[in-house]
């Protein structure tokens, strides 16, 4: 179906479920959502009671073209399967704001220029801050797992005076923490000693008088995170290496965070696809590896009775890449082509339609208000629009 036709008519394309196995999975997971087609175009208001209690928002970032994903579905069998059971938006408009700014736009719902190497929080509240301040979620209810290092911790919260770090998400960069070098360093210091209860009490009293109530930090939440880090170091995440190691760690960390903390919203920000600047084949391999890792995450959610009927996924790149190869036979991002400006958004979950594809345009900044609406809050400063048509 052509874009212009779909825009005019609002028609949707139904894809056949790929195979019997997937069909069975679809029926099992989506239950009563088989009426998706008849519900096409129906608007779901914010007051609707959503089945989604947990949401995984994946910035499949680093610059990923649709040509190498849904244009070549053998690269992404899991995302293809998710789309077949959910909703796929083929024309998601992006802004080329650099990786950092463009991914941040997904979380804020505002396209705003940020420096490519800027290492500071943005001015606009993120969906995590809306969810925490206006939705009353706790710090351990909102997590972001990243692979891009120090800069990406700025996704946690904005510098907005009404929101800010107090309402930020926990951000954890898997590659920075869970690596063999850091594990070795910790081992060199010696073995972690069990802390007796009396020492913990003494510590708490001393910290309280030093803090004078300024930080407002929750010592129990901090202790849980500390315990999680120690355990994660022994789980093998630190030993992941090879192509897309950073991204695969981010996804694996998210998988474990979801299993342990059962966050309401988990963001995942990938980055390794940017190897495409100088290595097209490496870039395709990153896409394949990341799809496989997301598949593992998806399977683990479906295998968890607490999560399988209440968890949704939204997956989208922050922007695409150039139409043509550069002189190094890689792919940059800066030609203004449709390959760069349009990506796909994959949505899977109990509240979404099933087996529906849209060629109508949405925008990456529409994701933030859509997610907040699913948890009963508004992204008040967002410039995006809630994507109503994705809902069953």
């Amino acid at each position: 179906m052509s874009e212009s036709k779909s825009k005019r008519s609002g028609q949707v394309t139904r894809r056949e479920v790929l195979g019997a196995g997937l069909a069975a999975a679809s029926c099992l997971q989506l239950g009563g959502l088989g009426h998706a087609a008849s519900a096409a175009g129906r608007t779901v208001g914010p007051s609707k009671e959503f089945k989604t209690k947990h949401l995984v928002l994946v910035a499949f970032a680093g610059g990923v073209r649709s040509r190498e994903t849904f244009g070549m579905p053998t690269n992404i069998p899991y995302m293809r399967a998710m789309a077949d059971e959910g909703v796929l938006f083929n024309r998601t408009r992006t802004s080329n704001l650099g990786h950092f700014g463009a991914a941040l736009s997904v979380f804020t719902g505002i396209s705003e220029a940020r420096g490519i190497r800027e290492n500071a929080r943005g001015p606009d509240p993120t969906l995590f801050e809306y969810l925490r301040k206006d939705g009353g979620l706790s710090q351990n209810d909102v997590w972001i797992s990243t692979s891009g290092g120090a800069q990406q911790t700025n996704y946690s919260a904005s510098s907005h005076r009404d929101y800010g770090q107090k309402y930020g998400a926990n951000v954890l960069d898997g590659d920075g923490i869970f690596n063999a070098e850091f594990k070795d360093l910790l081992a060199n210091f010696g073995k972690m000693r069990e802390v007796p209860g009396g020492e913990t009490d003494a510590l708490r009293k001393m910290r309280k008088v030093l803090d004078r109530g300024k930080s407002g930090a929750d010592p129990d939440a901090s202790a849980r995170v500390e315990k999680y880090i120690l355990e994660e170091l022994t789980r093998g995440t630190a030993n992941i290496n090879g192509p897309a190691a950073g991204d695969r760690k981010a996804i694996r960390v998210a998988r474990n965070l979801i299993a342990i903390f059962k966050p309401k919203v988990t963001g995942i920000v990938l980055q390794n696809a940017d190897t495409a600047h100088g290595d097209f084949n490496g870039y395709v391999e990153v896409i394949r590896q990341n799809d496989a890792a997301l598949g593992e995450l998806w399977e683990s959610v479906k295998a968890d009775p607490d999560l399988r009927d209440t968890t949704s996924f939204v997956i989208l790149p922050e922007f695409g890449r150039d139409r043509d190869l550069n002189t190094r036979r890689g792919l940059d991002h800066g030609d203004g082509s449709d390959d760069l400006r349009y990506v796909t958004t994959t949505c899977w979950g109990p509240d979404f339609k099933s087996g529906v594809e849209y060629d109508t345009e949405i925008d990456t900044i529409d994701v933030a208000p859509t997610v907040t609406s699913m948890f009963g809050t508004k992204a008040a400063f967002s410039k995006g629009k809630r994507i109503s048509k994705m809902f069953a």
Partner: protein
Amino acid sequence: MEPPNRAVRTSKIVGDGVTEAKPFGELTPKRIRAAFLDLLGRPPLRAERDKWAGKGLVALLDDLLGGEAFWTKWLEKQLYYFLLIDNFRPRAERVESIPADLTEGRLHVRDAIHRVVLSSSFNQRNPGADTFVTVVMEQLLGIVVQKQTRELEIGKAAYDGGSGLFLGEVVNSQSDVVGVAMGDKRFGQGLIDREYQRLIRAEQNKGERRDAIRAFEKDEFTFIDHYRKWFLSPEWEARLGRPRRTTNRDWVSSLLVDVYDRLPTPSESRRMRDALDGLSDPTPLKGLLARLVLDSQEAKLPAKEDIENVSKWIDQKFLDLLGRSSTDEEAAVFTGAFREPDCRPATILLAIVTGGEYQSQ
């Protein structure tokens, strides 16, 4: 704090009519600690603390400002600004030699950063014409490229071997783009602003800023003079009252200097910083690292039973680690906690080094 030329007025009578002038900016524990952190990114070692106690800030600046340790820290800050860290940290001799060359006066800061931007690491960190030229414009000149797309396109064309007029100068290559940016007045403005804010934690007075930029454009070698002026200004003294979260790298250095009385190795510094940088709230990991360091054999803390005067020992730890004495309330709580059976000397230090004040000096 008074300016240097009035410093001698601060004096005291020491006996028999002999007046002893207090040095300008007398180095109290707090000032020593802050000055070392600002100059070298770490607190003083024990021997340095003893050496400088009661002496003047001017003498400390004479000793440390512009030395190789100072420039090494300066270079690390610049590399971090460009996010040239970990695998992207330049290893080339031309970059590694920057601190020594700056110390010896063979290089000034503009050319030092020029070397960094021309390094292969910068190129790898910012691959492709769009990313490279964007980062040059943003990080060197503070330009919002979305508002100067024409310049961006000309820069990109030059990156790929084309020609054009970029920021008013003819460019034909990637290195031309860098060269033009390095010579642009906005580079000096950005550098002065960045360094002033890092040191003073506030905006610079407009007139002083203008003078500093003018002096820098006239002679880049005068850059170090600005640091001295800023350190000796009332604004630096005011900065002592404006605590700001210490960078993760400086926190790691502080922890190892304060507990082990030695500098961290480059490997320790990098691995611990990278891990802490991976968390939006590094508090839990700082707690974990501090426990490991304090419980390690190298910490060499006294046995609990060997501490005879508990309140004095605790107060000394406040002075050493926070640059101030404990308040009455703190002293009472810490002393009480120390008497609990499970509390150890390491527990006292752990409470301090994981507290907000230690992390914001």
